[in-house]
Amino acid sequence: MDNTSLSHFVQVTINGLSMGCVYALVAVGYGMVYGILNMINFAHGEIYMFGAYIAYSALVCKMGLFSSILLSLFFCGVLGVTVERLAYKPLREASRIAPALTAMAVALLIRSAVMIIWGSSPIMFPQVINNKPIILNNNIRFYPLQFSIIFVTIVIWVFSLWLFKYTKIGKAIRAVSQDRNTAWLMGIDADKIVSIVYLYGSILAAIAGFLIANYYILLFPLMGFLGTIRAWTAAVLGGIGKLSGAVIGGLLIGLVESFAMTYISTAYKDVIIFIVLIIILLVMPRGLLKGRGQKV
């Protein structure tokens, strides 16, 4: 490998890791909401997209960076919890396919609402974070935003690990994920725990949405669906229900996408991610960290 192609390789890796971190954030929330009710929440990525649009509007209305982020977290949190209460809760005892189909409908609903409010064509996200690349030797560019994305992801990862392992609420979340009825019998209000999980997952999605919007400086309604696919693939790849699995899965998907874009074709990157998903499901359905799977 000569010098140029090596630095090119490093560049592609850095880009892949940054995108991967965003997918990891979505996947962590996705894995949590999957784990707690054992349902595939197709609407999770839409919340991530919705968060990015809210942040866009806040910034366009000249709100500060920090208050725009908070506003976006608030709206996404409310949306996530409301969707669970209105659309999924009545289906707790229904067959597993019913909430999954409902989630698809919810996803369509959110996407359509976004199209009505903001239009269906892509819009430019205002560049508010100073993102002047630091040029290392060999012409490798490292953007401050990439650093922020990686930093935020690590902080959230460590915080989530601590939350699940050591706090009362984290233990209750694990208990409800394993056996909701027995959790009720312990005096745990399982409905409240489910809401907390949806709130937390939606907030992570909003953070991811904000980061990706700043990274690509572009918003489009379909980004939610694409986010769902990546998060789903990442969560399955890492092992569904495993927090660190989702992070590792997200990073790998980011790398796959980045390398596929550079060395194969930009047009086929989504196809390649689908192929990765199919291969994982065929050869190791429980993922890298042996998450839940084949549970009858």
Binding site: K171, A172, D179, N181, W184, G187
Partner: protein, 236 residues
Amino acid sequence: MLKVENLVVERGDALVLNGISLSIKEGEIVGVLGPNGAGKTTFLLTISGLVKYKKGSIFFEDKNIKDLSPASIVKLGIAHCPEGRNVFADLTVKENLEMGAYIRKSDVTLKRDMDNVFDRFPILGKRQNQLAGTLSGGEQQMLAISRALLSEPKLLLLDEPSLGLAPIIIEEVFSIIKEINNRGVTILLIEQNARVALDIVNKSYVLETGKIVIQGTSSDLKADKKIQKVYLGIKI
């Protein structure tokens, strides 16, 4: 302490409980016996609030507990140790116990009570950081009962504590149940194994296909010809 009046429970189209009435006084051990599918587990789940009912009423300490959530029923002082033990397999032994104490506020008394559990069952203390799923059946039953007690209940509901255990372990479990009762906890015990249950209960109800067919003290029931034949396997 607990008064159930004319309870009717339907699940789907099936009538599972058809007019159950039962009462428990403070300090008693009351048994509900009966074969598989009689509705015993549904009965306990209904008291705990996990199964809803339309007709009848359940009073706990003169308070109607209909439509309360299962979590608020635990807070009133009813703990439920479910069938098949149902420990949280992927939580450690200690975390399982902490979940049992979920409704408690003070950490000081919890530490003391947790130490008491480990003194009473040293094996649980030794394995406190092990996943509960790795325990043996008997150990899981001890854990499930200890976990239920950590909510400091006035009434303990036990669903088939003998299920799937070796005879020698069953004996141990039942002496523990007696011990808990001696400490002042009222117990409602559901059992298929009438032979062991009748030795510790004050009175029993026999449930068959959703109805109470016989009720009485242990000596009444042991003298009953039908009980002898069907539940105790004595030839007459």
